[in-house]
Symmetry: C2
Subunit: 229 residues, 2 copies
DNA sequence: TGCCGTTGACGAACGCGTTCGTTACGATCG
DNA sequence: CGATCGTAACGAACGCGTTCGTCAACGGCA
């Protein structure tokens, strides 16, 4: 009834949902993007949202794709530019780092996406460009196809793990627990951990990410698919 | 008051919690292992559990470690047995597959662990043995230390993604969405996806897992750490 | 023996995601 | 023009994780 006087409330839509969610995320973080909050912001009840979004996970997926729109600048013209067999792999690493960078700003989104299989248009674009780069680098199609999965999965995971905001408690606890557990690991019970202890925590997130992408690309390029026998 | 007549209720303990949780998980799946259910099973209120467990994530971590105890048979004597530079990498793949197999039976646990940094004794044992195998395979310490992270992370992720129980809805939707999105991807908008479409969905989970581990090990073994300059 | 501080246990509450059944509206068809 | 039907919208409810303030039991100390 009170809604009747409201100045022509736009009649809800998936895009509207996502854009409001995006705003809340930017202003207050993903944690505040709840179904109930979103509904309140749109002046309706939580149940109404489920017409446009299957569940919270799908909403998060939409948010990711929106964020990925910003990558088009990096991804689109790149393919045509001077890509050679020599520099293709480096370009792939750069693209992966750009993707990781996006998630890095919103770690909790990365944690959500980790459990998800994104299917938005910008995500597909990313996959497509990545495939092009691998092809340019001389990677056989089969290995490239399987490899892209690993690459993106790993990028998401590394963003989820590394990026923990100071105020954001919860997911951070486990990381600290693991660190103290490793540090406390008795050298006679876990000799190999003790031996490389310093290496385990060495390096910045950036360094480790770039190295990891190199590792993956090297392995993907040189490891043949299992033969169907 | 009514609790007074109960036949000597054992006074709660972390181990008790975990073992009851484990039983519920085996009988009815991880989804049913909720704080409230666990409390009811122990004839108390939910708040009482938080004395022994920081949150649900930590409980899941404890469950994983309990499950990992079954791996000791594979992990313990292996190191001493005839491990040579030649077969070490193969042993590592086998161990990773064993770890993935454990998670494979309880995919939702894998999804939990994905966001976690486990720190239980059996997990540390797994890390330790893995480090030993990499060492035996001639992998430099630094690369091995960074590599173990990638290996375990990937094993968990692949278990989480592949293993979706038929009845277990929710996480499965996204995977299906992605599949139809990729299948529907217009060949002119996403030429590279179209080109390798058949490869993208090829292979069994087992095949892809083994190949992935090979990829990772190859990359880890041959990619040098960034020099500190 | 009597007291007190510590700590395990717990009842109640908050906000959350999601589902169900109902309502009301707009397009479609007779 | 009026009846019908699909469906957006919604109110209410359930079970969930987690926190807070309180209570009671117990060990150590005077």
């Amino acid at each position: 009834m009170s809604r009747r006087d409201r100045p022509a409330k736009p009649p809800l839509s998936r895009d509207g949902l996502v854009s409001v969610a995006l705003r809340i995320m930017r202003e207050e973080g993903l944690e505040k993007v709840t179904m109930r909050r979103l509904a309140a912001e749109l002046d309706t009840g939580p149940a109404s949202l489920y017409v446009y979004v299957r569940n919270t996970a799908e909403l998060h997926g939409a948010l990711l794709d929106e964020l990925l729109a910003g990558l088009d600048a990096v991804a689109k013209p790149d393919v045509l530019d001077g890509v050679t067999a020599g520099n293709a792999r480096g370009r792939a690493v750069d693209l992966m780092c750009a993707y990781a960078g996006v998630l890095h700003h919103e770690p909790s989104l990365a944690r959500s996406v980790l459990v998800l299989r994104p299917s938005g248009p910008h995500y597909l674009r990313l996959v497509d460009v990545l495939l092009a780069l691998l092809r340019a680098a001389g990677v056989p199609a089969g290995q490239a196809a399987w490899g892209v999965d690993i690459l993106l999965q790993h990028a998401t995971a590394s963003a989820a793990e590394h990026g923990v905001r100071p105020g954001d408690s919860g997911a951070d606890d486990a990381a600290e627990d693991q660190m103290v557990a490793v540090r406390a690991a008795a050298p006679d019970a876990y000799p190999n951990i003790a031996r490389v202890r310093d290496h385990l925590f060495a390096g910045t997130g950036e360094q480790r990410a770039r190295w990891s992408f190199g590792v993956l690309l090297e392995g993907i390029a040189t490891t043949a698919l299992p033969s169907d026998e």
